[in-house]
């Protein structure tokens, strides 16, 4: 096992890249070098210096602090989205896949309808209904992500429900709920792990996209997408404003995709 981790290039690089972004982001939840909305007139558009490694933006706010806090918010929205999507998706997928029958057909057709909208568009609709802000955005994206998880989990349950070990579990007198969530669920982990990470990436990108369009995270909160959107105006004058959050986003998504591709994660045991 140890040996295989050492050889798993995707895993090592993924961990390193993810850590580069996630560690500062976690620190950013509790502490940032400067307040994220502390403005300083004399530092407007300041360049790199020891006190402000990435310089300051058009209001004289420290970019490092904003990127730390912003990636924290982006990460939290990603986590929340995946959590909502995966939990609801697992429950719906498990029930429909395990029981099958008419309810399954109806649910899956409904799911197909949800699927036929791009999930970003679906999220847009939900944002329009729920309003913008981080909680609303998380819920909207979470709902938009449910159908894809339903698909994945349902397929696994359809495969598992006729396996002998499931029959044995039923025959031991286990209730349906117990069979579904104690016996079958752990066996979906292989497939789930990969899709959780991919889903997380999609959520991060979707958040950035929606915030970039101005309907996601609202000022003065920072998020990577928000910062990119704010930086547009100064793209030629001060490209650093866009480069720093942009690179952070790329590294985060790349790191997590590599983790999702790595053997160590997708082949637990």
């Amino acid at each position: 096992m140890k040996n295989s981790v050492k050889k798993d290039f995707n895993f090592i690089l993924g961990i390193v890249l993810t850590a580069i972004v996630v560690v500062p982001a976690i620190i950013g939840i509790f502490w940032t070098p400067y307040g994220i909305d502390t403005m300083n007139n004399s530092l407007k558009m300041a360049g790199c210096s020891l006190a402000h490694p990435f310089g300051c933006d058009n209001f004289g706010r420290d970019i490092l602090s904003r990127v730390m806090a912003g990636s924290a918010i982006t990460l939290l929205i990603g986590l929340g989205t995946v959590a909502i999507g995966a939990v609801a998706g697992t429950v719906i997928g498990a029930v429909t896949g395990y029981y099958g029958g008419l309810a399954d057909d109806i649910f899956m057709r409904f799911n197909d309808v949800m699927f036929s909208f791009p999930s970003l568009l679906l999220a847009l609709v939900f944002v329009a209904v729920l309003g913008s802000g981080r909680t609303q955005l998380t819920v909207a994206l979470g709902i938009a992500f449910i159908p894809s998880y339903v698909r994945i989990v349902r397929a696994e349950y359809v495969r598992a429900r006729n396996m002998d070990y499931v029959k044995s579990a039923k025959l031991a007198g286990a209730s349906d709920i117990r069979v579904m969530f104690v016996h079958i669920l752990p066996n979906t982990s292989k497939v789930m792990m990969g899709s959780l990470l991919i889903g997380f990436n999609n959520a991060v990108l979707a958040e950035a996209g929606l915030s970039f369009l101005g309907i996601g995270v609202q000022p003065p909160d920072a998020s990577l997408g928000r910062m990119l959107s704010d930086a547009q105006t100064y793209l030629f004058g001060k490209p650093g404003l866009a480069i720093v959050p942009g690179v952070t986003l790329i590294v985060m998504v790349l790191g997590i995709s590599l983790l999702g591709k790595s053997d160590t994660i997708t082949r637990i045991r």
Binding site: G100, Y165, K167, S168, A169, L171, G173, S175, R178, R269
Partner: protein, 264 residues
Amino acid sequence: MLLHVEDLNIEFHDHIVPETVVYDFDLDMDEGEIVGLVGESGSGKSMSALAIAGLLSRHDAKKRGHIIFDGTDILNCPREELRNLQGDDISMIFQEPMTSLDPLKKIGWQVEEAMRIHKKCTAAERKERAIKMLGDVELEDPERVYNSYPHQLSGGMRQRVMIAAAMINTPKLLIADEPTTALDVTVQAQIVKLLKRINKENRTAILFISHDLSLIRQLCKRVLVMKGGYVVDGGDVEEIFTHPKQEYTKRLIDSIPHVDLSGE
């Protein structure tokens, strides 16, 4: 009487034309009895067994007739009541020991499962009982097996684990659906011996399903022969072997390979 099956018919409705796989199946079993069920594949023997175990889900197949187990009507009782029987009074072991264990859970956990569901007892009591059962099915070093995962065991060991798991609550009826088909001949003989011992020690009735008449002869007193969904022959094993009434049974018996030691 432990088990009384009368006029059991099983039909599948997943095609346009309903398909009947079992016709008018009758079976009576007493406590502590071993009954054999032989037939070629597709003859309906596994379907009958699954129905008796209450495992044919209700929307897959239509069943008519009566299955009375120890006073409970298996076909018509509420799910809750059925679940109380399953794992406690009725147990089943399957043909394929490679897939009938959950690959992600330790052997001990799986052996204990029926006990966890049906009996109120502490984790320590469960572990003690599980290890005793693993020893009872003649597994060496039960402690180590208890903490293993299925992929660390051989086919024969897994089948023993399945038997231990099925027997943990000392059921009244054990349905063995071709438990030795996937195993090699030496292990087969050991498993048959083990089933015989379990039957004697616990007074557990065994419904032994196989397509191997010679195994049935070793283990059972009474046998039913199935073909194409019908029970075509039945009765005392020795009687059937010496005076088969049906042409089909004759052919089945003739198909048992035997070594002629006399030379010519």
